[in-house]
Amino acid sequence: MSKLNHKDLGLTDDQALDIYSYMLLARKLDERFWLLNRAGKIPFVISCQGQEAAQVGAAYALDKTTDYLAPYYRDLGCVLVFGQTPTEIMMSAFAKPGDPNSHGRQMPGHFGGKKYRTLTGSSPVTTQYPHAVGAALASKMRGEKSVAYTSTGEGSSNQGDFHEACNFAAVHKLPVIFYIENNGYAISVPLSKQLGNHNTADRAVGYGMPGYQIDGNDVLEVYKTVKEAADRARNGEGPTMIEARTYRLTPHSSDDDDRAYRSREEVEAAKQKDPLITYAQYLRDAGVLTEDKEKELNDRITREVNEGTDTAEKAEFFAPEDALTHVYEEK
């Protein structure tokens, strides 16, 4: 896949494998969501499948002890890297206590959690962009070294908040990474009806920040580009805009039927570039992913996904009246 080598990027073999394990965990959790949804056990799924490299590679390039995430609803890969556990993710899918994102109040994919330095996200798209800028402004004011990472889809990049956030961050040279996961569709709407210029990274120059369009299936290129952006941000050089080219392998959500707007051939062709397959092959060729390691990894992840699912399925819901709490500070 990549022309890059993980060692040249300063990644040890263990780290290269670690990245793969997060990608695989995200994929396995996501596949389980669909089974649970089809079995009528969870009402809704929104998927990361196909975008794991674009997510895990980016989050892995950040410092989860100092940086902030303001992700969007597909970024399961990002929040796993920042610490969310399979059980917590399943608690969120089942809307049960132990969901660190919203304690069962929001749909799955609406990520957040202070202990994971993840700002809370909502459904109206791209509102997280200005929030990330605000977190970056605070870190600059306090002389901290934290970087704020925020992502959205290419369709969502057409919201006014995208523009207002990017310009504000550029004016004050704030440590922000504006990330766009361009998977070619906004639900059913293709790039031709969504963007006047299909490369959203070309917007960067208008704001006076560097912009990069990268292959979102190449986890090493993603890691490298985001790492460099984070370094620039920490050095006071301001924000960066990055568009990762990727593809959504599933329908938009469990409520969608993508046959209405894209051909099966197109989806099949995309599956040939599935980053999980290509990166696994890279690691095998590099002698990092041995047969034993692969089996061990698959077993561990399957076990974690099973445990998470069982725990969440068995867990009690919050009491109904609990819905009345936390509207305002409770003194």
Binding site: R105, S122, S123, V125, G155, S156, Q159, K193, F317, A323
Partner: protein, 327 residues
Amino acid sequence: MAIKSYIEAVTDALREEMERDESIFILGEDVGVRGGVFRATAGLIEQFGEDRVMDSPLSESAIVGVSIGAAMVGMRPVAEIQFADFIFPAYNQIVSEAARIRYRTKSDWTVPMTIRAPYGGGVHGALYHSQSIEALFMNVPGIKIVMPSTPYDVKGLLKASIRDNDPVLFFEHKRCYRLIKGEVPEEDYTIEIGKADIKREGTDVTVITYGLMVHYALEAAESLEKEGISTHILDLRTIKPLDREAILEAAKKTGKVLIVHEHGKFGGVGGEVSAIISEEALFDLDAPVRRLAGPDVPAMPYSPPQEKFYMLNPQKIADAIRKLAEF
């Protein structure tokens, strides 16, 4: 007359109006080949082509702002906001622009635009796919707000909205889309905007409501009839302008009024209805005007038991009616 679902009535009204008037076009997210995420525009792009059934970029402010511009120069756009919850990025265009263009030009420029949006809960939509947002537009002169409860009303009121020469917010309860079916005439007809409708005659307690709650109130009335309580049900159908005469008449009829709406009570539509009644029918009242509404929390949670707890239902409405009857 054919039996149609609530959403079929939407599609029929759109199709018939677009056949009638070339200047009507649809603009929204996924309204084209996808036919809308709820399928309200299914089949329309095939019939009218992509110039009249346009997939817009993911930009609500542009959907509304572009529609306003097109409307000013003679088109009749029907904008779709995918979920009512996502109308807020366009709030400035609706409140500062669409609602005021006639006023600030003394009708030199006007905005014959309809904005359709599915609203309401009970669909596992959580905080941002369940809201009723009409209260946030009540205090905005210059717009109209239509919220039908039956397929018949949907078709007649959507046609009237599209033909109206002022901006209309047309809110469709997404839970009603496939749940509610009813008789809809094949032929062309419109229902006047601003007219409420008595959905059930009664003598003991008056329920004033709209949308999905009309159906829950009707169920409640059924069960209460067995207990000997007779419920009068007024369906507002239009929230702005409100049908003052119909409200006062319905209030005076029983002297006991229960206002029901799905969204939170504080600052909700019920406040205005209640104030109208106590301003003009105070001495016809035999009991305080009651409001039964959603809890005052941001919106209904995803957690199923909590969503159920948030939503009103026939049982809760029946209990409130009974209390008033016994007052």
